[in-house]
C-alpha cells in the first residue's frame, strides 16, 4: 500500500480535532440519559414509572438536536421538566461545540493539503497512458504543458506556488492535466507524481532555481533509470554534474540552443522558415526568408546569452562588438569591449551606423526595448534581435517589431516539446546540417522545396508512426505483404493520389534516414516521423487504423470482409484458374 501513510495522516488529523468534541458529546448524552432513567415519573393513573434507556435516548434524539418532535410518552413531573431543561441546553451546547470543531477541521490547511495530496496520488495511480511530469509551472512550464496537452500527452505538474497550481486547474486542456502543490526537491513528491509508474515517460525540471532542477534530475534518474530527464540549466557547473548522469538526461539551455540556431540561420536562412513552420508559429509559411546579415554585429549585454551568441557568430566568421555595463565573468577576455550601458553615446562609439546587426540581450526587458529604440534612431536599417525575458510583455515586443524576438521560456518549451513529442525531429535537423545530406538532392533547400510543394500552408502537423503500436499495420505486416512508405501515403479517396504528407525521418535499425524515398519498405520496429497538413495526418491515422483501407491502398483491391464472402471469393478464384 503506497498511500497508507497519507491516509493515516488524514485519520490522525481527524482524530486530533474530533477527540475532545466526541468525548464531550458522549459524556453529555450519558449524563442526560442516566438522569432521565433515575428521575421517577408518573403514568396516567398516577403510579410511579421510570423511563427506560431506550425512551431516554429517543427523547434526547429529538430535543438535543433541536428537532422539536413533540411525542411525549406521558405527562412529565416537575422534576423531569427541570432535568429536561438541563439536558436540552447541555446537549445543544455540546453539539455546537462538535459542529464548530468539524468546521475548523475542514478549514485546516494541513488537512486540506493532505486531502488534495491523496486525491492527486489516486489520480496519478489511475493513469493508464504515457505521461510527463513537469516540475515548475512558470512561463516555460505553462507553455510546455499547453503544447504537450495539445499533442494529446497527459501531464502531471508539481509546483510549489499554490497560486500557480490554482491557475492550472482553471485552464482548459485537451489532455488530462493534474497538479500537486509540493516541493519537487523532496523525492517522495516525485514518487507521488508517478515517477515510478511504468507509464511515466519523462521528468522535466523547469523551476526558477538551478539547484532545484539539479536535485530533481538527480532524484529522477537515480530512482527510475528508464525515464527521460530534461533539465533547464544555464550554468556550466551544473551541466558538468548533469552530464555524468547518463544518456537519458538532456540539458536544456535556451541561450545555447538559440545561439546555435542563430548560427544555423546565418549559414542557411531556410532553417529559420522551416523551423518556424514546423513549430506551427501562426502565419509562418515555408517561403518566408529572414536573413540575418553576415556583417559586423553589436552585442548589448554579455551575460549567458551574449556569450553564447558571440561564440556562434564567431564560428560563422562574424565580427562582434560587446557593450556591457556589469563586470565580466572571470577568465573572459573580450577584445573591443565598450563598458557601460547601451546608451546612444556608447552605440555611436560602437560604430552603429556601419553595423549590420544588433542583439539586445540583457536580462531586463525595459533595457532591451530602450536599446531597440535607440538603435532605430541611429540606424533604421540594422537587423535587430531582441531578448524578451517576461512572457507577459508579449504585446510590447510585438509592437516594437524587431526582426527576431528571443523568448528564453519559449525556446526551452519548444525544444523540450519537440524532444518529447517528435524525438526524430532532432535527427532531422542534425542531418540537414550534416555533409551527407547536403551532398544528396541539393540539401536543405531541396527539402524545403519538396515540403512546400507537397504540404505547404501554415501550421503543419507532425506525427510519429510506430510500426509496433497496435493498429492495422502490424496485422497487414504479419501477412507478409511488402509495404512501402508510398502505399501508406496514398489518398484513401483516390488511390492514385498522394496525401499532403511527407516522411521526414525514418528510423529503421541503426541509421536514421532523413526524407526517405517513398519506395522505402516499412519493416516491423520502424519509426517514421511524418509531416503533413492536419487533414492529411488525420486521414493517415485513419488508414493505419483500418486494415481494409490499408490493404486496398497497397493492392488496389477491395477485399471481401466477412467470412462468407471471403470463402466464396476463394472458391470462385479456385474455379476460375485452370487446374
Amino acid at each position: 500500500m503506497r498511500n497508507s501513510p497519507k491516509s493515516s495522516r488524514i485519520t490522525f488529523i481527524i482524530l486530533r480535532y474530533m477527540r475532545r468534541p466526541v468525548i464531550v458529546l458522549i459524556t453529555v448524552y450519558a449524563a442526560s440519559m442516566l438522569g432521565w432513567v433515575l428521575i421517577p415519573g408518573q403514568d396516567a393513573q398516577g403510579n410511579p414509572a421510570h423511563m427506560s434507556f431506550f425512551h431516554a435516548f429517543y427523547f434526547l434524539a429529538y430535543t438535543v438536536t433541536t428537532t422539536g418532535f413533540g411525542e411525549l410518552p406521558q405527562t412529565y413531573t416537575e422534576a423531569q421538566r427541570m432535568w429536561g431543561i438541563v439536558s436540552l441546553y447541555a446537549g445543544v451546547i455540546a453539539w455546537f461545540y462538535a459542529l464548530g470543531s468539524i468546521v475548523r477541521l475542514v478549514q485546516n490547511q494541513e488537512f486540506q493539503r493532505s486531502l488534495a495530496e491523496r486525491r492527486f496520488v489516486k489520480e496519478v495511480s489511475r493513469l493508464s497512458e504515457p505521461f510527463c511530469i513537469v516540475c515548475g509551472f512558470g512561463n516555460t512550464g505553462a507553455l510546455l504543458t499547453r503544447g504537450l496537452s495539445d499533442s494529446g500527452m497527459t501531464v502531471v505538474v508539481v509546483e510549489r506556488n499554490p497560486e500557480r497550481v490554482q491557475t492550472l486547474f482553471l485552464r482548459d486542456y485537451r489532455a488530462q492535466v493534474t497538479g500537486l502543490c509540493a516541493d519537487a526537491r523532496i523525492p517522495e513528491h516525485l514518487i507521488e507524481a508517478g515517477l515510478l509508474n511504468p507509464h511515466c515517460k519523462a521528468v522535466v525540471a523547469l523551476t526558477q532555481q538551478e539547484e532545484v532542477n539539479l536535485k530533481i534530475a538527480v532524484t529522477a534518474s537515480l530512482l527510475n533509470k528508464d525515464v527521460l530527464v530534461m533539465v533547464q540549466s544555464t550554468s556550466e557547473d551544473f551541466e558538468e554534474i548533469l552530464a555524468t548522469l547518463g544518456n537519458n538526461v538532456h540539458i536544456i539551455d535556451p541561450f545555447q540552443t538559440y545561439a546555435k540556431y542563430l548560427a544555423a540561420i546565418i549559414e542557411n536562412p531556410a532553417i529559420h522558415s522551416l523551423n518556424q513552420w514546423l513549430a506551427g508559429t501562426p502565419g509562418a509559411t515555408l517561403d518566408q526568408r529572414t536573413c540575418p546579415p553576415k556583417g559586423k554585429w553589436i552585442l548589448c549585454g554579455f551575460g549567458r546569452m551574449g556569450q553564447w551568441i558571440r561564440k556562434s557568430l564567431q564560428s560563422q566568421g562574424v565580427a562582434t562588438v560587446v557593450i556591457e555595463s556589469g563586470p565580466l565573468a572571470q577568465d573572459t577576455q573580450v577584445d573591443g569591449l565598450i563598458p557601460g550601458r547601451a546608451s546612444q553615446e556608447n552605440l555611436l562609439k560602437a560604430d552603429i551606423e556601419h553595423t549590420s546587426g544588433i542583439v539586445a540581450g540583457t536580462d531586463s526587458d525595459s533595457e532591451n526595448l530602450s536599446i531597440l529604440l535607440n538603435t532605430r534612431a541611429l540606424n533604421p536599417d540594422i537587423f535587430t534581435l531582441v531578448r524578451q525575458n517576461r512572457y507577459r510583455n508579449l504585446e510590447v515586443f510585438q509592437a516594437a517589431r524587431a526582426d527576431f524576438i528571443m523568448v528564453p521560456s519559449l525556446v526551452s518549451a519548444r525544444r523540450i516539446l519537440f524532444l518529447l513529442v517528435a524525438p526524430l525531429l532532432k535527427t532531422f535537423f542534425e542531418t540537414l546540417h550534416g555533409p551527407t545530406f547536403l551532398a544528396r538532392d541539393g540539401g536543405l533547400n531541396a527539402a524545403v522545396d519538396i515540403l512546400s510543394r507537397t504540404v505547404g500552408g501554415t501550421q503543419p502537423r507532425l506525427w510519429t508512426l510506430d510500426t509496433t503500436a497496435p493498429g492495422a499495420l502490424p496485422r497487414v505486416m504479419r501477412d507478409g505483404k511488402a509495404i512501402v512508405l508510398g502505399d501508406v501515403l496514398r489518398d484513401p479517396e483516390d488511390r492514385n493520389r498522394r496525401l499532403a504528407c511527407l516522411p521526414l525521418v525514418m528510423e529503421s535499425g541503426q541509421e536514421p534516414v532523413v526524407m526517405p524515398a517513398l519506395t522505402t519498405a516499412l519493416r516491423p520496429g520502424d519509426r517514421v516521423l511524418f509531416c503533413g497538413t492536419p487533414h492529411a495526418v488525420r486521414l493517415l491515422e485513419a488508414t493505419l487504423n483500418n486494415e481494409y483501407t490499408l490493404r486496398y491502398l497497397i493492392t488496389g483491391v477491395d477485399e471481401p470482409r466477412g467470412y462468407v464472402m471471403r470463402w466464396l471469393t476463394r472458391k470462385f478464384a479456385a474455379q476460375g484458374t485452370p487446374a
Binding site: E493, N545, Y548, D558, P560, R561
Partner: protein, 127 residues
C-alpha cells in the same frame, strides 16, 4: 463496382424492406401480417448477419451488433408466434399479434440503423 458490396448491400436493404412490409398494417389484426413474409424476414435477417461476420473494422463491429439485435427481436417474435399457435390454447388473438408486430417493429429500427450506417460508410469512401 464490387460484387461483394452488391450482395452485401442487397441483403441488408432486403432485410429492411421485408421487415417494413411485415410491420405495416393494423398492429393487432392477424389478417394484415402474413406468416410467409415473417418467415422471409427472419431468414434474410439471419443471412445478413452471416455476411457481416468476420469484418474486423470498427464499423463492421457495429453493423454486426445491429444485426444481432434485429435477430434477437425477430426470434423472440417467432417463439411467441409458435407458442401462441401451437402450444398454448390462446390462438392468434389480437394481443398476441400486437406483441409480435411490435417486436418486429423494434427489429426494423435496428435494420434502419444498419442501412444508414452502410450508406454513410459508402458515402464517406467517395471512390
Amino acid at each position: 463496382m464490387n460484387l461483394e458490396r452488391v450482395i452485401f448491400g442487397f441483403f441488408i436493404v432486403l432485410a429492411l424492406t421485408l421487415n417494413f412490409g411485415f410491420f405495416i398494417g393494423e398492429i393487432d389484426n392477424p389478417d394484415h401480417h402474413s406468416i410467409v413474409e415473417f418467415f422471409f424476414v427472419v431468414v434474410v435477417n439471419l443471412i445478413a448477419t452471416g455476411l457481416k461476420l468476420g469484418d474486423r473494422s470498427q464499423i463492421g463491429a457495429v453493423l454486426l451488433a445491429t444485426s444481432l439485435v434485429a435477430d434477437l427481436q425477430l426470434i423472440a417474435a417467432a417463439i411467441i408466434w409458435a407458442v401462441a399457435a401451437h402450444v398454448s390454447e390462446v390462438g392468434m388473438i389480437p394481443s398476441v399479434m400486437a406483441t409480435i408486430v411490435s417486436l418486429a417493429g423494434g427489429a426494423m429500427v435496428a435494420n434502419i440503423i444498419s442501412v444508414t450506417m452502410l450508406t454513410s460508410e459508402t458515402l464517406m469512401l467517395r471512390r
